[in-house]
């Protein structure tokens, strides 16, 4: 115990030096917390967006679709898959979907696009898209030919409400064309959707896909869970179902590999530059602690003369380092905590930038970036800073323990 008392008081012999050092460490930690918080916040939001506007937490689709998406790679017995998934009691929503890569044409123009056939009453896309309608109305359940198109597509096709649209798609060597009418025009602000997405009912989509033996095809069944964390659990459960052999259960990570890679990459970049900061802070720490040890050579010699063992001297310097780390970490939490709180509440406002800047890895970032820090992250960053500080103190501590008692009597 006396060791800790001694260590604590030793730390404050040179208050200014100690404070500058601890502030440097604290700054490093605070910076890490803010930087990682923003990064995590942006990434989490991208993931949530990608899941919500995409194909959910889990997707059941035909094997081979992921590697090479193609219209003819569909679940032949779509209704059976849907039935099994619904019967499994998934805590969330289950959305049967048909998706076809097509050519969308009006009298005036023809454009590449994607036809998305959904359950117009129940699909989660309804919640995402309905609020963005700028003209017309959402599709009625009993409207088999109704279509919703994005604003940009409407402009390019010169299609107004009620206009006739032809959807042409090739499925397994055969080309199907179907006629539809524009019932509504949406504007989400997301270029992808406004330029390429055509929304229709499942019935419309089914007309484009060949049905055999009365089995109703689907491109996929998208599952949206209430609790993100349940994803791996339900993946196992769904994979264990007696689904048709052609069906494959995929997680959102498998569906959005570009996003996953981007996040890993971005994280790596963030950590690399934080590493740089850490290295420099380490130089500063070693410098300070080493100097404080070398200054006290005579004193350490005296302690050895009095009978203190080298191990205890080592312990003393390490205790000083430990306390320094403690002080710095608390400071760092305050700085980082303040920064994080501000960014979590108000966010980093990038709305003044052109929306293109926020397009990457196939998703759109929210122009208002908010910070998100999980306890694990804080613990990890704190641990790293703590560990680094302690490691920096090792060499000086060793130097201290090597001071021979003879030093006490040298002039």
């Amino acid at each position: 115990m006396i060791l800790l008392t001694l260590a604590w008081r030793n730390l404050w012999r040179q208050a200014r030096r100690t404070l500058i050092t601890s502030s440097t460490i604290a700054f490093g930690l605070g910076l890490a917390l803010v930087s990682v918080g923003l990064g995590d916040g942006a990434h989490n939001q991208m993931v949530r967006g990608g899941i919500r506007l995409g194909e959910g937490h889990l997707t059941v689709q035909r094997r081979g679709y992921l590697e090479a998406p193609a219209n003819h790679v569909f679940l032949e017995d779509g209704t059976e898959v849907l039935r099994q998934v619904e019967a499994a009691g998934v805590p969330g929503r289950v959305a049967p979907r048909i998706f076809l890569q097509a050519l969308i044409s009006s009298a005036n123009n023809a454009l590449p696009g994607g036809l998305l056939g959904i359950d117009v009453a129940d699909d989660p896309q309804v919640d995402a898209l309905r609020p963005t309608l700028v003209e017309g109305a959402w599709l009625d359940v009993g409207d088999p030919r109704g279509l919703l198109i994005g604003r940009h597509m409407a402009e390019r096709l010169k299609a107004k409400l009620g206009a006739r649209i032809v959807v042409m798609a090739g499925v397994g060597g055969e080309t199907e064309s179907q006629l539809g009418r524009v019932r509504g025009i949406f504007s989400t602000g997301i270029d992808e959707l406004d330029s390429f997405q055509v929304v229709a009912s499942l019935a419309f989509g089914r007309r484009m896909l060949p049905a055999r033996d009365g089995r109703q095809p689907l491109t996929r069944v998208a599952i949206f869970l209430e609790d993100d964390a349940q994803t791996p659990v339900w993946r196992e459960k769904l994979a264990a179902l007696p689904l048709p052999a052609e069906a494959q259960v995929l997680t959102w990570q498998e569906m959005l590999p570009q996003l996953v890679t981007f996040i890993a990459f971005d994280d790596a970049g963030n950590y690399i530059w934080l590493l740089f900061v850490l290295v420099m802070v380490t130089f500063g720490i070693i410098n300070t602690i080493l100097m404080s040890v070398l200054e006290r050579t005579r004193e350490f010699g005296m302690l050895r003369a009095l009978g203190m063992k080298p191990a205890r001297l080592l312990g003393l310097v390490l205790a000083e380092t430990l306390l320094l780390a403690g002080v710095s970490i608390v400071e760092g939490w305050i700085i980082g905590g303040a920064g994080h709180w501000y960014l979590a509440t108000y966010g980093l406002d990038l709305t003044s930038l052109s929306p293109d800047v926020l397009k990457t890895a196939g998703v759109m970032m929210d122009p208002l970036m908010k910070s998100e820090l999980s306890p694990q992250r804080v613990a990890m960053l704190t641990g790293i800073v703590f560990g680094t500080t302690m490691v920096s103190g090792l060499y000086p501590a060793l130097r201290a323990s090597r001071v021979p008692p003879v030093r006490a009597l040298q002039t």
Partner: protein
């Protein structure tokens, strides 16, 4: 039995490319309760001799037995323990730990020895009182005069209960009055407790106080001892 039995002590230092002999074959025996001074000019080897007896350093040749124990046979850790338990030190300056109060400084060695807290406190208070600094117990070294610091050092040395106290030029930085006071104090303690005091000094006042003087010159004992120290306290 002699408390300190040193035979043929030789110590050679290496300075750059040159070997510097500091001690050349010194024999010395100290009885318990002695109040002895090692005297000699700079370079005579008295500090070196003190180092060796205090187990701060190891001889190039020769043996030292403290209370029958052969120091040469002990490793670093054992020597540290030995110093901790059996030897007290008073240096010329920088005796005290700057961040501890006077009381805490006195307690320090006892705490290292592992004595119970209450005992450390009790003994520390006693010895501080004994050296006349009870009211300054909570002052830090920088708030104490040179003389007061040395007194605290004496208290610390004795509180730990050693058999032998080694003092290296303890009065060198003090004015006459203070030096006299300090020496008187040490004399009293030597008388009361029977602890052996060995000084290294070239201060006349110390030499006058010492009951035995051992002169060193060029690493050797120069003349026969002046005065054979009392073997026991009268």
């Amino acid at each position: 039995m002699a408390l300190v039995d040193a035979r043929g002590l030789t110590k050679t230092y290496r300075q750059g490319d040159v070997d510097v002999p500091a001690l050349r074959g010194v024999d010395l025996a100290l009885e318990p309760g002695e109040f002895t001074a090692l005297v000699g000019p700079s370079g005579s080897g008295k500090t070196t001799l003190l180092n060796l007896i205090g187990a701060l350093d190891t001889p190039t040749d020769g043996t030292i037995h403290l209370n029958g124990t052969d120091l040469g046979a002990m490793g670093e850790a054992e020597l540290a323990d030995y110093r901790l338990l059996h030897v007290g030190f008073i240096f010329q300056a920088y005796n005290l730990i700057p961040v501890l109060s006077a009381l805490e400084n006195v307690e320090f060695v006892m705490v290292l020895q592992g004595r119970p807290r209450a005992e450390c406190r009790r003994r520390a208070r006693y010895y501080l009182e004994r050296v006349g600094l009870a009211e300054l117990a909570h002052r830090r070294p920088k708030a104490l005069s040179g003389g007061q610091q040395q007194r605290v050092a004496v208290a610390r040395a004795l509180a730990a209960g050693p058999r032998l106290v080694l003092a290296d030029e303890p009065t060198a930085n003090l004015d006459s009055e203070t030096a006299a006071g300090l020496l008187a104090l040490m004399g009293e303690l030597n008388h009361e407790e029977g602890v052996t005091f060995l000084f290294s000094t070239h201060d006349r006042r110390v030499m006058e106080r010492a009951r035995r003087i051992v002169r060193l010159r060029d690493g050797r004992i120069a003349e026969p001892d002046e005065g054979h120290g009392s073997h026991a306290v009268p």
